[in-house]
């Protein structure tokens, strides 16, 4: 017995030794994707701003000063508003609200969407009908007016309230897509095999089906975050939420209300607009990165995109690329 165990542990050791570096590499693989790195870098930059923005802001964003409607200068990098408020400080302080609402709404909506979508797809029958009907109802509800209504009725429409409202109205699209994909997956042979193995339903869902949905869930999450950020900015822009709480939409609200465009005060709305565009781009890039990483077939292509370009290889189905690199010396 003792001999046997020692042999067993020996082989186990060998196995872990051989796979350990590979596993370590695999964890970092996602970070070797150029698109994902760019996206994460931009998102990380905004996340840092969200945390430290209040401290590094040179002025109080609401403080009025005599420098009225100044273009960008050394004292005010992004210029000032009609009340002499510093726009750089407003952008910095406003970052936190945007990111918190985006992430909270994204996480909430994704959780609701995954729960309802995967359950509906997997259980089938009456449960599926009910949950599908529910998501259909939420799909046809005009989102923005509803958000405006709810946000307008609530006594204190702060960031988290807005996030909750956005999540509650925005999960149905993701649930719909996830249900369709789950329906297709649960008929596949590997799920049948898992069932024949005697695996429990929750294990089949968690271990067999969910990994196949990662790309869709990630895409849904990123899409919802983008939608939430835009909704929140829209709400602030049209003045539904509190205009005293700074975010990028509030800046645009004041810029619009005070005819920034007509007065030629481009510095008033361009920084906030650029930040919104950059954040959206970062989220999209992360989405591409996730897509290429989750699909094992795309992974190699995504990871080596740069070397492939250098070697002039365009991977396509149906037209295998040809490079003359191997030695051709055999008769």
């Amino acid at each position: 017995m003792a001999v046997e165990t020692s042999v067993l542990t020996d082989t186990e050791d060998v196995a872990t030794d051989a796979t350990a570096p590979v596993a370590g590499k695999r964890k970092l693989l996602f970070l070797r994707n150029g698109k994902a790195i760019t996206g994460l870098a931009i998102l990380g930059f905004f996340a840092v701003l969200a945390v430290v923005g209040e401290w590094i802001a040179p002025y109080d964003p609401s403080a009025v000063s005599p420098d009225i409607l100044q273009p960008p200068s050394g004292a005010h990098w992004f210029g000032t508003t009609h009340l002499g408020q510093d726009i750089l400080s407003q952008v910095l302080v406003g970052t936190r609200g945007v990111l918190v609402v985006g992430l909270v709404a994204g996480v909430l909506a994704t959780v609701i969407g995954v729960l309802i979508g995967v359950t509906a797809g997997f259980v089938g029958g009456a449960g599926d009908e009910t949950l599908s009907a529910l998501s259909n109802i939420f799909l046809v509800i005009p989102q923005l007016p509803l958000i405006i209504l709810i946000a307008g009725q609530l006594p204190s429409a702060g960031g988290l309230t807005v996030a909750a409202v956005i999540a509650v109205t925005g999960w149905a699209w993701g649930a719909r897509v996830l249900r369709a994909q789950t329906l297709s997956l649960r008929k596949r042979d590997f799920v049948e095999a898992a069932r024949a193995n005697g695996e429990r339903t929750w294990r089949i869902v968690l271990a067999e089906i969910l990994p196949n949905l990662t790309a869709i869930i990630a895409a849904g999450f990123v899409g919802t975050v983008t939608f939430a950020v835009l909704s929140q900015i829209t709400l602030a822009f049209i003045g539904v939420t509190s205009v005293s709480e700074w975010n990028w939409g509030t800046i645009l609200f004041w810029a619009q209300g005070n005819l920034a465009l007509q007065r030629g005060a481009w510095w008033w709305f361009v920084p906030a607009g650029l930040c919104i565009a950059l954040l959206g781009m970062a989220l999209t890039l992360i989405n591409f990165g996730i897509d290429e990483f989750v699909n094992p077939r795309l992974r190699s292509t995504g990871l080596h995109a740069r070397t492939l370009r250098k070697r002039g290889i365009r991977p396509r189905i149906g037209f295998t690329p040809v490079v003359h690199e191997a030695k051709e010396d055999r008769s």
Partner: protein
């Protein structure tokens, strides 16, 4: 087991497809898997060439690389695939542009896929699918003419032409396979690549389809590359057989020579892993061990770890295809084994070892 009768002169060199030094890698990273290493193969006009070998030895890769149908992360890293047209023109498939490749496909070189019966679209009638293939390449053909041609084709593969209006689910697996063969023949191609076309069928259906292919070959004069791991089936249908091992062709000879006079230890092992139906009883033995990891190939001969006739040179010298070292052998056959290549062994500083009697059967 009798071979399909070979018309005299069929094996004279009139190549229709020449694969030269074809190398294929899987993976775009720094250490790709070299699944095919400078494989060379010639298909003559009107010939049925069998490709045999274990799973994962590169049979299908060879066929798909020669047609440039390998999906990513497949990468052709070298070689030539020369196609000789009926009019005497020669084209290298590997240097064709996308448009040329698209036009050449199906017209010059048609493929029946592994599990081809699932290649039919379930929502269209089979007649329309055959007609689509015709009209994609010959837009001037009217739908009516294309359907008439489809009916002829179905008749040719032994399906009643009134089945044109059937949906794929209304046909049996064997019939769907025949529809796919009919579709492959729609544009009168010169080369037909069949990737395990009968693997999913029962033996009766296998026999019918194999006979059908042989008969159509005699009538229409196309060449066939027949890929399978069923060596006994291959001996029956093929004129010539190429045996592959670990991404290389190790023996290339007429079907009868491979069957009765194998020269490579691997071919010999393959033939001893199924019982002959007729003739004297012989020892049934498998091949011990398993094929090498293509990502980490050993030096020298890839088969040496499993070879009963291994000697010291095998670990250091890589064998090349040469004529076997057995007097009186067909000079056109070739084998990649150091036992048959004393010159290479001597050149590398080892003492040549004679061919064992098992590999020198007359």
């Amino acid at each position: 087991m009798s071979a399909v009768p070979v018309a005299p002169g069929r094996l004279t060199a009139d190549p229709v497809l020449e694969i030269r030094n074809l190398s294929v890698d899987y993976g775009y990273d720094e250490n790709p898997v070299h699944v095919l290493r400078q494989a060379s193969l010639t298909l003559n006009r009107g010939e049925v060439l069998g490709l045999a070998g274990e799973s994962g030895c590169g049979k299908s890769t060879l066929a798909y690389a020669a047609t440039r149908l390998l999906p990513p992360p497949g990468l052709i890293t070298g070689g030539q695939v020369l196609f000789h047209g009926r009019d005497g023109s020669t084209a290298d498939i590997l240097s064709m542009s996308d448009a040329e490749l698209r036009a050449s496909r199906w017209q010059d070189l048609a493929i029946v896929f592994q599990g081809a019966m699932n290649s039919l679209n379930p929502v269209f009638r089979v007649g329309r699918q055959i007609a689509d293939a015709i009209r994609a390449h010959r837009p001037s053909v009217s739908q009516k003419e294309a359907l008439e041609r489809a009916a002829d084709l179905l008749d040719m593969v032994g399906i009643s032409p009134d089945r044109l209006r059937a949906y794929p689910h209304q046909l049996s697996g064997g019939m769907r396979q025949r529809v796919m063969i009919a579709m492959a023949l729609a544009l009168d191609p010169q080369v037909l690549i069949m990737d395990e076309p009968t693997t999913a069928l029962d033996v009766v259906m296998q026999r019918q389809i194999v006979e059908q292919i042989a008969e159509l070959r005699d009538r229409l004069g196309f060449s066939v590359i027949f890929i399978t791991h069923d060596v006994s089936l291959l001996i029956e249908i093929a004129d010539r057989i190429a045996i592959m091992y670990a991404g290389e062709i190790v023996e290339d000879a007429t079907a009868q020579d491979v069957y009765r006079r194998p020269r490579h230890p691997y071919s010999n092992g393959l033939l001893h892993s199924f019982p002959p139906l007729r003739g004297p009883r012989r020892e049934l033995g498998g091949i011990p061990g398993s094929p090498p990891d293509l990502a980490r190939l050993p030096s020298g001969c890839p088969f040496r770890a499993r070879c009963p006739f291994v000697f010291d040179a095998c670990a250091h010298v890589q064998p090349e295809l040469v004529a076997p070292d057995v007097p009186g052998d067909d000079p056109r056959r070739s084998v990649a084994c150091l036992r048959h290549d004393p010159d290479r062994v001597a050149a590398a500083g080892f003492t040549p070892v004679p061919v064992p009697p098992e590999l020198a059967l007359r």
